[in-house]
Amino acid sequence: MTNGAVAARRDRVLEVVDLQKRYGAGTLAIERISLDVCRGEFVSIVGPSGAGKTTLLKTICGLLAPTSGRVLLDDKLVTAPPPEMVLVFQDYARSLFPWLTVTANVAFPLRKKRLGAGEKASLVLEAIDAVGLTAFAGHYPWQLSGGMQQRVAIARAVAFRPEILLLDEPFASVDALTRADLEDLTLRLRAEFGITMLLVTHDIDEAVYLSDRVFVLSPPPSVIVREIAVPLSQPREQERTRSDAAFLALRNEIHRLIGQHPERTPAP
């Protein structure tokens, strides 16, 4: 474990305690999950398709009410979406607003912040610049490629300056090259803005590559099978990190836990 992670561990920002979630009287999506996230940490949750990953993130950020158990943010109970947490949805095409330009989409959440017009404008510019879309600020989302649209969604979240960014399979529907790009963008944003990251994915390699810690979920109704620290050196670099022997050992361990071979990682 790196020194940074040890220090961070003492500074717990998010705590999920015995969380259970049942939809109405029907599906039990989450059996029982407990986890914690420290300030500045990058935590991933890996699970098979339908494991309740989206459900978990929505419950953590207060969009869904837990059936039982608690979510604590800075030791305060979460009952409604708090401004400290922002969720980036799996399906960018549906969460962006097609009637707004890139700039207006990124500025959208700032309507709720009591800031001067100048301050808001500079937050927007900075966020768009950070995801490398300055040249497309006046475009509409549907004029952009899938990867660029996901960048807009990320910029919108970053402009809001959350403490924790929750990412729900944010790179699942883009091609492999774009995916690597966006992964590194996420690492950069974390360093630049000091945002704590909680990522949900079914891509084991991605989880290991990005994270300080990984939680492995069982198939639904889900429980946490294992918590795994990722003591790979920082900063991470696609080729070097992914060919590291420690990296390979970790991913193989997680594959075994999920009970699947690498080729059979479920498609989104």
Partner: protein, 253 residues
Amino acid sequence: MRGRRLLGLATIVVLLAAWELAARAGGNVYVPPPSQIAVTFVHEWFSPQFGQEAVPSIWRLLAGFVIATIVGVALGVAIGVSDALYRTLDPVLQVLRALPPTAVIPVGILLLGIGDSMKVAVIVFGAVWPILVNSVDGARSVSSERLDTARNFGFSRLETIVAVTFPSALPQIFAGLRVGLALAFIMIVISEMVGGSNGLGYAILSAQRTFSIPEMYAGIVLLAILGYGLNALFTLLERRVLAWHLGSTAVTR
């Protein structure tokens, strides 16, 4: 592209020419030649008569349509965002929408007489249902990701309706407005025919009754131009307001 346009115009010219020749040769008083209708049209409508007959029709139509729009969109979105309201009112709306709208004109005459308020009221009644029903459908079909996004950023329910639900529903609302506009036209013409002392509907029906045949045709032509013109204006507005929608659907297609 250009050749196609020309062919389309040529058809119209040929039809008009055939009509002109047939009318001159046939001498049927019920079918005046287009040239005579054109002369009558200029004579009739480039005159104070325009102010007496056309202007009242136009403003009643617009007033009724605007009121129907405001009422239909506001109520429709409100019903669409509330499951309880939707379940209670939707079947009722379906029946009201299917009611042949001109059937209520006698009720309007009974309650409000034959003045302007009756005409505006029946136009509102005629145009409001498609607007209302489409607003309901539009508000209900907003994706949950969009609503969750707004909630995630701390938007209240009302703020979410204004900033997310309403714009999302706009394409459907416009589809309803287009149908509503057509119904508003039917309502103004019929209400003026059934209970009027002025207006275009009244003018063309009384021209027919007094056998002022070219005048009747001229009136129909004016109504046609108004119908076409308002529809074109509406399309223009729609293209502006829904540019994002047209663009995004063209991309995914």
